[in-house]
Structures are given as C-alpha cells and as structure tokens.
Assembly symmetry: C2
Homo-oligomer: 194 residues x 2
DNA sequence: CGGATCGTTGATCAACTTCAACGGTCGTGG
DNA sequence: CCACGACCGTTGAAGTTGATCAACGATCCG
C-alpha cells in the first residue's frame, strides 16, 4: 500500500468515479501538495477561499467567531476528507471562516480556477464534483436533523458512535463547539456528571 | 409573462446553465406535472424518495418526527425552490422524512432514474445538477452556522429579514420547528414577550 | 522550569421548554 | 348556512437543560 499523497487522492477519486490513468494524471496535476503546521491557517475571514483541500494526513477544523468572540466549529476534516469555506469557495466571495490545522497535516489543494477548467473540460470530472457536492449536502442535512432533534448528550453519543477513531483525537473545545455546547458541559457529559 | 409550469421551470433551469431549446425540451420532457392538495404527502418514511420536486406554485415542508413524537421541519419549499428527502433521493435509500403540502400546490417532479440518465447523457445537465447540489450544500452550511451562533430570537429575526414574503405565509408550528424552538416561544418572540 | 493551553468541577444563572388553559378561525358535514 | 370540532396561536407559571463563572489541576512544549 502506497503512502504517496497523490496515490492516496487517486484512490479517493477512483472510488467516486472510475477514471482512466490519463484522466487521473490530468486531474492530479492541478493539485498542489502542502504541509501545514499545527495552528497554521489556510483560510481566513475576508480573504476569498482560493482552495479546496483534501486531507492526506492530519486534522483540520473550520470555525467562525461570533460578535461575542466565541468559536463555533463548522467542520472537521481528517484523513480522506475535504475542507474549505464552502460558501466562499463556490461563490468566490470573502470567507467568513477560519480553517486551521489541529495537527501537523499534509493536504492536497485544488484552486477554484483549475477546478472550473477541469469540470468544463471533462464530463467525468464534472460528475465527480457533482457527487462530492451531493454528498456534502446530504451530510449536512443529517447534521441539521441531529441538531434539531437531539439533546447535547445524544449528539455527543451519536458522534462518538459514528466516529470512534476521531472523537478522542480532537481537542475538546473544538468538539464541544462542533456539537453546539460548551467545553464545560461536554466535560460533564464525558464524566457522567450529567 | 407565462404561467405555464414548464415555462417557469425552464426559466429556472436557464438561470443556472444556458441551454438550447432542444436541450430544454429534452430535459423538461422527463418532468411530470403534479398537483398536491394541502396536507397531502409526497414522501413518507420507509419508502424511497423516488422524486425531486420543483415548486411551481404553493408551499411544502419536509420534516422528521423523533421518538417523542415531535415534528422538526428540515426544509421549506415555496415557488422556485426544490424539495425532497435529499439523503433518500441521492442514495435511493428509505426516507426518514415526511414531505407534505402546506398549501394546495403545483409541482414538477423528476424521478431518480431519469435524472441519472439525463446527467449521463449530457455534460450540461451534469453541470446543472452539480450547481444545484453545490448551492444546497452552501445553503445548509449557512443554516448550520446560524444554529450554532445565534439565539432563538436572532434566528427568527434573520429568517424574517431574509424571507419577508415567506415568514408570514408559513404555519407558526412549522416555522418554530424549523428554527429550533417551540411554538410557544416563537409566539412570545413575535409578540415581544421576551 | 515556567507559562500557556486545555480540561474539570461545583455553584449560580439564563434561555428556552413544558404544561395547562383559553380564544380565534377555518372547513366540513348536516 | 349554521354549528361544531379540529387546528392553531397566545399567555403565564413552573420546570429543565445547558451556559456562565471562577477556581483549580494536568499537560505539554519551548
């Protein structure tokens, strides 16, 4: 099993849409490899999100900060996930989010212009990105359902059950704000104080 | 200005991707016109959502019911919006939602198989559905941000400001459950009792 | 070694829910 | 066309969930 970043991404893409070797080469050629250190930012508010990033190794989080200065985690990404400020990226408008590395990470980035060119040039690539967008939408709809129908404890338990290998890898403040609760309360849930 | 349902949808599609008349004809041909009465269901849990529906006239809502028997509105759709149980539709798995008409409505439905055929047959159609999925994902991300960062009153005010022509058209219980609060609390917000 | 960062815990507090009772309106059957 | 019931919104009182605050402890780097 290869650990070349481009091979990892190649597997990922192939699992969405079957691509010939030539097609893979073409598409992979527009991705650039980037290493990000823990706490380093790849997206910041007011700047347009130029890239969509595939996580080869490591972990990142996207969050917004409200007027009171509180963080709210919008998305995590570990190995084999994508991350960006989605609204900023697809509309090419200034971002409202920070995206930062939770761990030293290796990512592969595609820029908006290249992505547009690739989609325009190939029906298959268009299909690939269509599938990615559909899954993103479906995923987020499930999250909305959770937030509307479940208590804080239930949301935590669901997350822990669905992502057993991720749940203990994330800083607690980041997970708490993703699940819509304070770190104090998440701590109490984890220690059966509630 | 035409009120033929197919013309309305044609305008909508054209605004996403420019299509030739032939292309429009081909795509529109797989949509079927349906009238739904208030309270009538077009999707129910356990059945696979076969259709994605474009609202020509009227209003519908998608909701889930949790173990306690409480409704939670996941989505509204009025004129020029789409609605379905997105997870059920794109994965063709049994639905978890009800989708029902809030008013007598006219919709245009495309079935999953036809949509797949259309996407496979035409790069442009693929692009069209890719854009729809991207916008759905971006929209839902904004909703997640609202739910994480805002109070009940702020969420209501945001909705009222963004959809001034919709906010008073929806039954209050449906809006309250969409915004993640009880009807009692929404009533108090509206009447400045809080 | 020392400061910064992160998690823990109990006490108090606020946002929102629950409950119950009431009033209005709408649509349907007689 | 009326009457009745179902459905929907309103309101106040009491109850809960989870937030806030503050103090402390642990860990991790530099």
């Amino acid at each position: 099993m290869s650990t070349d970043p481009y091979d990892v991404l190649k597997q990922h893409l192939q699992s969405r849409v079957p691509l010939t070797d030539d097609e893979c080469t073409t598409l992979l050629s527009v991705f650039r490899l980037k290493k990000v250190k823990r706490r380093q930012f790849i997206i910041q508010p007011e700047y347009v999100a130029k890239y969509r990033s595939y996580v080869v190794k490591g972990a990142l989080r996207a969050y917004v900060v409200n007027e009171e200065g509180e963080d709210h985690t919008i998305q995590f990404a570990v190995e084999d996930w994508w991350i960006s400020d989605y609204n900023s990226y697809i509309y090419q408008q200034p971002a409202t989010m920070f995206v930062t590395a939770i761990e030293d990470s290796t990512i592969l980035q595609i820029d908006f212009e290249s992505e547009s060119r690739m989609k325009a040039a190939s029906h298959k690539f268009e299909t690939l990105f269509r599938i990615m967008a559909e899954r993103a939408a479906a995923f987020q709809q499930r999250r909305i359902i959770s937030s509307l129908t479940q208590s804080a404890k239930e949301r935590y338990n669901e997350f822990a059950a669905r992502y057993p290998n991720v749940v203990n890898r994330l800083p607690q403040y980041a997970l708490a704000s993703y699940l819509g609760m304070t770190t104090a309360f998440l701590s109490k849930i984890r220690n059966n104080k509630v």
